[in-house]
């Protein structure tokens, strides 16, 4: 403990809360409050209503939610498969080749998401691969953007994995494929589910690349939030944002439950 006197500690905590609450907690609370309101002209929102949520249960907003969920699930599964494969393959390479592979897979983090969207637009608006205007291009964009995170967390988990497990299994006569399936992947499961959760959350909130490429019939929730607030319907937008946060949180919670079950230590 750094500060020992009681008074000083209180002062530090007060300062902390004064900084922390308005900056981090307030924004989320404000969105939730606004989603139940129809106007905000005083200190507090007024005109309590559930109308915004009622609107979400039907029509375009509901379709946007489903679109986002489908996209996020598809993108995170693809990213998890690609990222895990690349991480496992990189482990068998020589150090220099491994560095190159890791750097290539981390590259999408450094490239602006908007540019990722633009590049897909440029590449797939022309033959041989004409994907512009299809849902697939949205899924591809999200996959490209989140694979780096899957790759990174699986690589880190592999580095932490004690090689003695793999060697013991091989010593007992298990072929590399059997070791991978029965030893390595089960031991990596907690990290894999964590990576899947992260990918899902990132994909759910992806806006930059999506704005560049979404087709009219595949409009994810963040775009819908933007479109709604852009035409001035701030409170309806807040309700959509709450739904977005809730869906993300629910999936993260479910994933962390799987993870506790899957961790054996």
């Amino acid at each position: 403990m750094l500060v020992h006197s009681k008074g000083a500690r209180r002062a530090v905590w007060t300062l902390f809360l004064v900084l922390f609450l308005p900056v981090f907690a307030l924004p989320l609370l404000v969105i939730v409050a606004a989603s139940f309101a129809s106007s905000w002209s005083g200190a507090l929102p007024s005109g309590p209503t559930l109308a915004h949520y009622r609107d979400i249960t039907q029509g375009d907003s509901l379709r946007a939610l489903v679109t986002s969920l489908v996209t996020a699930v598809a993108a995170s599964l693809l990213a998890l498969a690609a990222g895990t494969w690349a991480a496992l393959a990189a482990q068998r390479l020589r150090p220099r080749a491994r560095k190159v592979l890791d750097a290539l897979f981390m590259l999408p983090v450094a490239v602006p998401s908007v540019v990722v969207g633009l590049s897909l637009l440029v590449a797939f608006s022309q033959p041989p691969l004409l994907l512009n205007g299809t849902p697939q291009i949205v899924v591809i964009a999200h996959t490209v953007l989140v694979t780096a995170f899957a790759h990174q967390s699986v690589t880190a988990a592999l580095a932490r994995l004690d090689p003695a497990y793999e060697q013991s299994a091989a010593g007992l006569g298990a072929r590399p494929a059997y070791v991978l399936w029965r030893v390595k992947l089960p031991l990596l499961l907690p990290s894999l589910t964590a990576a899947a959760g992260l990918c899902f959350a990132l994909s759910m909130g992806e806006l930059s690349a999506t704005m560049m490429i979404y087709p009219p019939d595949w409009l994810p929730l963040p775009v819908r939030v933007f479109a709604t607030t852009d035409r001035g319907a701030l409170f309806a937008g807040a309700a959509l944002a709450v739904v977005l946060m809730a869906a993300t949180l629910l999936v993260l919670l479910a994933v962390s439950r799987i993870r506790t079950k899957a961790s054996y230590r």
Binding site: A43, A86, A103, V144, A164, M204, L234
Partner: protein, 310 residues
Amino acid sequence: MSRPGTPAPPRPTRERYRGERRKVSSALWALPPLLALGLVFLYPLVLVVRQSFTQDEGGPLSTAPYAQVFAEASFTDAFGNTVLIALGATAGCLLLGFALALVIAFVPFPGSRAIGRFIDVFLAFPSFLITLALLFVYGTAGLANGLWADATGAAGGPFDFLRTPWGVLLAEITYFTPFVMRPLLAAFSQVETGQLEAAASLGARPARIVRKVIWPEALPSLAAGGALVLVLTLNEFGIVLFTGAKDVVTLPVLIYTKAILDGDYTGACVVAVVNIALSLALYALYRAVAARAGGARTPSTGGDGHRARA
């Protein structure tokens, strides 16, 4: 399957596993993910670069598009805005993140662990939510101006900065500070309480302990976190888009405007190449700094680290 007692057939030499063959097969395993990445990421990037040098469809390569874009006032404005906002937001995140992480790690209070988890959740949300929230806090119809109106009886409040660069700056600091706090908290967890107690027992004041014991430990993570935030703020799109201000245009927004609203793909690609160059340079810096920060920590965590799992 050989029945017991039957002498096994001689092992063909091709079944022997040799180092060379193993290396080749390892490289083969790395190929499919590489090909996939190449198809959906590297190849499109190459096309963007090519397009940025193409004045007319099918025409020869030229640097004319660059000259054209660089001459536009909107580009120079966007470039300046991007760099200034990124630098400002990074500085703000570092200051705020260091202060908050310091309290969480070294002046713990009931619920400080919950705050750590809250930060993790915070990182899972998209950035534009912050701008949306700030609209309700500082917007023309919102908390702060509403409070002012209630208190003074005036028709409106004095807060009207959301559509200026300051609004973007505030939103970015809010959103990206946790990116600084996370590595810092990890680094602080490595500082032994015994070290702090020893320093305190020797009569060191908190300010001195922070400077002499905690600061050196925090520096690598602070540098790595700062570099990451710099890259992320350079590339941030959602926050700026949601602000909806006509005069706050950054490079990513300019790319969006040119490509989607104006249909000027070549111009968009030129801006994109500039943006990529800027952020790749910074990202390389981040990797170098992060590797050094990681390397500095390895001796204490490596080695017997495996033991804990057994």
